[in-house]
């Protein structure tokens, strides 16, 4: 026996249009996230004459990150690290509480695929039309529709790649340079790469990215448990499924079997084959031969849930790796249930732990009791802790930033008159848009004198706008002063903004002469 092919071509998926609460929610999220992505770089923010006026700007060349009123320098990268940790924990929290909501609603792959599907549906028609077009010969009409669709996709892809580069330099200037073909090759290269990935991933790879390229579907199983709210099919309500004609046939067969069973007497019953084996047909291992038991479930096997699925799966087969829990099958099924006069929620957001209770006829636990559990509370607590820590760190950030590093090679210098001098490298940062003049001084309980290198006896330092100055500071003890012969002397270096009067200080030590 020969081995079957170990590789399979992608089965194209043609999701049908759907309306409903979750679809509306998805439209809103798409609108907001894409709006933020495309428009953010164009928001202006006045920071004064020497700083960029772009609200959100990652200035790699000058190692500055601007976010509205917040400005982050490289030495404050812990803010970015903290945000990344919060993003990770937030993902854990949402996954453990609500399953793959990130995948279903907010992931760029999902959002752009959704956008590309919208274009596809708009140009080529809904599911059936697209299926026909897919099978049709490549005639003029098919070429026209395909080329139109690809052209619109390409425009979106270029806009997507183009929006990215605007985050890294002044947007209006870059746009002008891009249009005049004067921008840096890196900008064009980045746009080209992101255009290609958007076009290919959103137009052609779609669910393949989620299933075969993304690690997240595999990781998140570790964060989900029986209380996680996921999209599931209430098979105890839906099964056995059947279309209308099948239902009639099965009902007739069941009634006939029951009549025969009653006529034949106990223990002689025969049963009709049902399309799907179901536990409800048995009680204590014994088949129940009543027309009641052979009654069909609510699922009319209309395939609406399968037809709308962007991943091309059948949710009725249970939870599966491919499912991104976008909720579109819920909308589709609810629509059908409304039309056949059954309650909504045959497919629904439910927790696996509800299954036993619902099967037993009890009401499921309220959502908040699924969501509030030690795991999610812990994630929330850690997330909040880091968030509050970052906010605190942001607000206690001093307007004056200085570091003092004592020169320890050598620890002290003997001057010709026997004085002992210590050297300190003081780094002063000015994050404001104008020059600042600082006055340096020191406080200590012994006698010490402060001087600044290259400053001719003055104790003022001018730090230009948006820059750092490294100032060498000398502290000297005369030979007869106690600090000259003491092992170490504590001192505090003060920096004062002469105009605003803001002060900041750092504690350090003075080394005396080794005896």
């Amino acid at each position: 026996m020969s081995t079957p092919s170990l590789y399979a071509a992608r089965e194209p998926i043609f999701p049908r249009r759907v309306t409903g609460a979750f679809r509306r929610f998805k439209w809103w999220i798409m609108f907001v996230t894409l709006g933020i992505y495309y428009l953010m770089p164009w928001i202006r923010w006045d920071r004064g004459p020497n700083l960029p006026d772009q609200a959100v700007l990652v200035d790699m060349a000058h190692r500055r990150f601007y976010f509205f009123w917040i400005e982050i320098w490289p030495h404050e990268f812990y803010f970015v690290a903290g945000l990344l940790i919060m993003a990770g924990l937030g993902l854990f929290l949402f996954t453990s509480a609500l399953g793959r909501v990130w995948c279903g609603y907010a992931c760029p792959q999902t959002v752009w695929t959704d956008l590309f599907l919208l274009v596809e549906r708009w140009i080529e028609g809904d599911r059936n039309a697209r299926l026909r077009l897919h099978k049709a010969k490549w005639d003029v009409r098919k070429w026209r529709l395909r080329l139109t669709k690809w052209a619109v996709w390409l425009v979106i892809a270029v806009a997507t790649g183009g929006a990215w580069v605007f985050y890294f330099t002044d947007a209006p200037t870059l746009l002008r340079d891009l249009v005049q073909f004067q921008a840096h090759p890196v900008a064009y290269g980045t746009i080209a790469v992101l255009t290609a990935t958007t076009f290919v991933f959103g137009g052609f790879m779609r669910e393949q990215v989620c299933i075969y390229m993304c690690p997240w579907p595999r990781i998140q199983a570790a964060m989900m448990d029986h209380d996680t709210i996921t999209v599931a099919y209430r098979d105890w309500r839906g099964e056995p499924r059947g279309k209308g004609n099948v239902r009639k046939r099965d009902r007739a067969a069941a009634e006939k079997a029951e009549r025969e069973a009653q006529a034949a007497g106990p223990g002689k019953a025969r049963y009709p084959a049902t399309p799907y084996p179901n536990k409800a047909l048995q009680v204590g291992g014994q088949p129940v031969a009543t027309a009641q038991a052979q009654e069909h479930g609510d699922c009319i096997d209309c395939m609406a849930c399968v037809n709308v699925c962007p991943m091309g799966i059948d949710i009725r087969n249970g939870q599966q790796m491919e499912c991104i829990t976008c909720g579109l099958c819920i909308d589709a099924c609810d629509d059908v249930m409304a039309r056949i006069g059954k309650p909504r929620g045959l497919i629904d957001y439910i927790a696996l732990s509800d299954e036993a209770e619902e099967r037993a006829g009890a009401a499921p636990k309220p959502i908040w009791r699924h969501v509030l559990r030690p795991r999610t509370i812990l994630y929330t607590a850690v997330w909040l802790l880091i968030g509050l820590g970052l906010v605190y760190a942001l607000f206690i950030r001093s307007d004056i930033e200085l570091t003092v590093s004592p020169v320890r090679n050598p620890t002290y210098v003997v001057q010709s008159d026997g004085s002992i001098r210590n050297i300190y490298d003081v780094r002063l940062r000015n994050k404001l848009g104008e020059d600042r003049r600082f006055h340096l001084s020191l406080t200590t309980d012994k006698i010490l004198r402060i001087e600044l290198e290259g400053n001719a006896g003055r104790l003022n330092v001018v730090v230009p706008a948006d820059s750092t100055v490294l100032q060498r500071v000398y502290v000297t003890a005369r030979p007869q002063d106690p600090a000259a012969s003491a092992d170490t002397t504590d001192l505090r270096l003060w920096v004062e903004d002469i105009e605003s009067g803001d002060r900041a200080s750092r504690a350090t030590t003075f080394n005396g002469r080794v005896q």
Binding site: M1, S2, T3, P4, S5, L6, Y7, A8, A9, R10, M205, Q208, Y212, V407, N409, P410, V413, V414, Q415, S416, D417, G418, R421, I423, E453, G454, A456, R472, Y474, P479
Partner: protein, 287 residues
């Protein structure tokens, strides 16, 4: 062609391979994945042709693009120099004593001089410029040949007591072991100790002062305050190049010292000499 075989439990097609009744399921990989693998292999081959890769008996294939990391470093350095060419030209033309008025140029000179210092000067003077026995500390306010910008620049450019530069600073202290008696040396050492210390033999030092006046004052001065024109150290201060204890002073007087420094003007560019001079001047002792 064989018929498809479906596993009962999973509903998945099997490959038909069976070991002790255990069958292998076939969950086929997407075909684009296979093509991606082939594409990366072709890319890899192309890469090794375009860039240096395959080891040969001597050296390696050089690659069609002619790329080399060394050439890249050289071009990066050249680009850096080109970017700084204006600053370099300004540094070469600048009046070093007036650099304070050109804050940016001074900062550039200190940064450049610092890296020159760490590469060329730190072997003797130490990475922190604190010197060592026989190698002057450049952080203090004591200078043998002068501590203003011009004197430092001359010292750096021409060096001290070397044979290679005619303009090198030069002086030679006699070895007084051949000239003075041992007792006279002991007396003059005591006198020198007395100049900067309270702990000395008054009688001996007093006799040493005559020896000093006769033999040493010509260079070191009447008051032993030194003479920068000859590089004669100030003997009254707290700083000693070789040591201020009696044993070391005795050795110095008896055998003399002869510290040599190379002429860096012959080895470094004019900009580097100027930069390192500015750097040394900025370390704390500059006058």
């Amino acid at each position: 062609m064989s018929e498809r075989k479906i596993d009962d439990t999973t509903g998945v097609e099997t490959t038909g391979h069976s070991w002790d009744g255990i069958e292998e399921l076939n969950n086929p990989l997407p075909r684009w994945w296979l093509w991606t693998l082939y594409a990366t292999i072709i890319w890899g081959i192309g890469y090794t042709i375009a860039y240096p890769a395959w080891p040969m008996i001597s050296g390696a294939t050089s690659g069609l693009l002619g790329y080399s990391t060394r050439a890249e470093v050289a071009s990066n350095i050249a680009a850096h120099e080109a970017k700084n060419s204006e600053l370099v030209a300004a540094l070469e033309a600048a009046d070093l004593t007036a650099l304070d008025n050109a804050e940016g140029l001074r900062r550039y000179a200190i940064a450049r001089g610092g890296s020159v210092f760490r590469a060329q000067c730190s072997q003797c003077h130490g990475a922190g410029a604190a010197g060592a026995k026989g190698y002057p500390n450049l952080l203090d306010d004591d200078w043998l040949w002068g501590g203003d910008m011009e004197s430092i620049a001359t010292t750096v450019a021409h060096g001290i007591r070397n044979e290679t530069d005619a303009d090198a600073r030069y002086s030679q202290m006699p070895a007084f072991g051949d000239i003075l008696e041992k007792a006279e040396i002991a007396a003059v050492v005591e006198h020198v100790v007395s100049l900067s210390s309270d702990d000395y033999d008054r009688a001996l030092a007093a006799s040493g002062s005559t020896v000093f006046a006769d033999n040493c004052a010509a260079c070191h001065g009447e008051g032993a305050e030194g003479d920068r024109a000859q590089g004669a150290p100030d003997l009254t201060d707290a700083i000693w190049l070789y040591g201020g204890d009696r044993d070391t002073l005795t050795t110095t007087v008896r055998d003399a010292r002869f510290g040599v420094m190379p002429a860096w003007g012959q080895r470094l560019s004019d900009a580097d000499v100027r930069a390192v001079s500015v750097y040394v001047h900025s370390l704390g002792g500059g006058e």
